[in-house]
Amino acid sequence: MNAYWYCLQGIVQREWLRFVLQRSRFFSALVRPLLWLLVFAAGFRAALGIAIIAPYDTYITYETYIVPGLACMILLFNGMQGSLSMVYDREMGSMRVLLTSPLPRAFLLASKLLAIALISLLQVYAFLAIAWLYGVQPPLWGLLSALPALLLVALLLSALGLLLSNGIRQLENFAGVMNFVIFPLFFLSSALYPLWKMREASEWLYWLCALNPFTHAVELVRFALYQRLSLSALLICLGLTVLFAVLAVVTFNPQHAALRRTN
């Protein structure tokens, strides 16, 4: 048991070190959602004050609406960036060092996912703190009840990232995948507009958004932030996390990079 704990600690610590040493990564992770909140949302301030949707009890400003989506945006970018680091690790060989550990590979990868998730949560709460000062103030207890939801979403997105990185042969390809994964996931979701608004625009857009796992991640966090549970979102997020994690472990092949180099 001790060996597991020691290993997990080591992996989390390594992720923490990487986070501390790359301070620019922390700021860029914050700048992105803050730009959306302070610049983009400012123009739409009154746009949504026309309908009340769960979990909100009254009319809200657009800024209030997009905060859960932006929190998930941090998790999305970090999950993908975390997997990027896996590609990097694989290419540089440090992942191979990690895999020489006698512990099961599934545990090592799960630890890695958890480490990425924990670091992401720090950034999300830093963002929520700034949003709070800006005037987007969900109930205080909501910040606590959102923690498990955020953790699950962080795991879901890093599992997805890991799965994707398994299919990528080299570092350069990854940027392309980002554009084909992050942007569609984010824009075709309820992060920026509620689904009823999407439905007003077009029915197929609505269905694309409704089927997008990221929509359910955002809704899980949105409800949790207001001390509510969206059971459907929870079940979908849990199911997908398990599915992506299992697939990621099964398809994980540390030989990818090494093989390519010898060819």
Partner: protein, 321 residues
């Protein structure tokens, strides 16, 4: 630790509901009905049929009777709140919109929008005591706490009309900004707050001199100035705050009643019209005409906590303990 947290949250929840065992009555202009809201559950518990186009609402001082301006029925209806039945109808003059009850709990001052009149009715003998000529399209109506003055606003003449209640004669007029909609005396009757819908202002008037002391203006981030149309005004009993409903701006302004500084703008439903406090002053309710709901403002945090769907075009609201 978890048990302590749970206990704390339960006691918080209990504390927040025990003070809310009040009932709100909301007139739905387009539905010819009154929505009854149970403030303990924050839900509409009943909908009562009343006369056509109900607007202004008033309670008798013992909270047993509800007076309803049924504008298109050209009368004021009186509802017994114990049985929720209309027990009588008062001759109000044509198109009654807003009214005010004298402190003697008998005289009702009713503005008749189409006839440029204020009708005074004795609610016990059902007699019309007087009809006083005022400006065009009279609307807002208030009686001073000492019962000396009845003040009416006329929307087109842009004036406040001061009626001496001992003689029922028009004594003085005060010119205010365009389209005055509502007047409200402060607790000690020294100042009168008057909203001007098109002027976009609220004037604070010194009652002794009947002169304007201060004119308040409003600016809301992201809302066009033309949409800022003050209508309802309410003053908290502790004399700290004034709340101004800003109509199609969909916001209620929170004003420091002593410094006249606007402290905040609270987002509520569309076209916010009139407001009422709960008897313990812990909540302020707003009627939002276009969105057809009532928003609830928590007085301690000065935040909107909930919006409750009612009938079509909610207009007036009163709250009983």
């Amino acid at each position: 630790m978890r048990i302590a947290l749970l206990a704390a949250s339960i006691s918080l929840a209990l504390a927040s509901t025990s003070s809310l065992a009040a009932t709100a009555y909301v007139s739905n202009e387009k539905d010819d009905s009154i929505s009854v809201i149970d403030l303990a559950t924050m839900e509409v518990s009943a909908t009562l049929e009343v006369g056509m186009r109900p607007r202004g609402l008033l309670l008798s001082s013992d909270n047993k009777l509800l007076y309803i301006c049924a504008s298109d029925s050209d009368r004021v209806q009186v509802m017994d709140l114990a049985t929720r039945k209309i027990i009588k109808e008062l001759p109000s003059g044509a198109d009654p919109e807003q009214f005010a009850l004298h402190r003697n709990d008998r005289w009702l001052y009713i503005s008749n929008e189409d006839d440029a009149l204020v009708t005074v009715v004795d609610s016990q003998s059902d007699e019309v005591l007087a009809q006083i000529d005022v400006g065009v399209e009279p609307e807002g109506m208030a009686v001073s706490p000492d019962g000396k003055w009845a003040v009416n606003t006329s929307e087109t003449t842009n004036m406040l009309h001061w009626i001496d209640t001992s003689t029922h004669t028009l004594v003085d007029n005060t010119l205010v900004d365009q389209r005055p909609r509502h007047v409200e005396f402060d607790g000690d009757g020294k100042r009168l707050w008057a909203s001007a819908e098109i002027g976009g202002t609220v004037s604070v008037i010194d009652v002794a001199s009947r002169q304007i002391e201060k004119v308040l203006t409003f600016q809301i981030k992201g809302v066009h100035p033309d949409k800022v149309q003050p209508v309802g005004v309410k003053l908290s009993a502790d004399g700290k705050y004034a709340f101004v409903a800003l109509g199609p701006a969909n916001h209620v302004a929170v004003v420091d009643a002593n410094t006249y500084e606007v402290l905040d703008y609270l987002l509520v439903g569309r076209r916010v019209w009139h407001m009422a406090f709960t008897p313990d002053q812990s909540l302020l309710l707003t009627t939002n005409g276009v969105s057809g709901d009532v928003s609830v403002i928590d007085m301690q945090s000065l935040k909107v906590t909930k919006s409750i769907k009612v009938g079509r075009y909610p207009w007036g609201v009163v709250v009983t303990p």
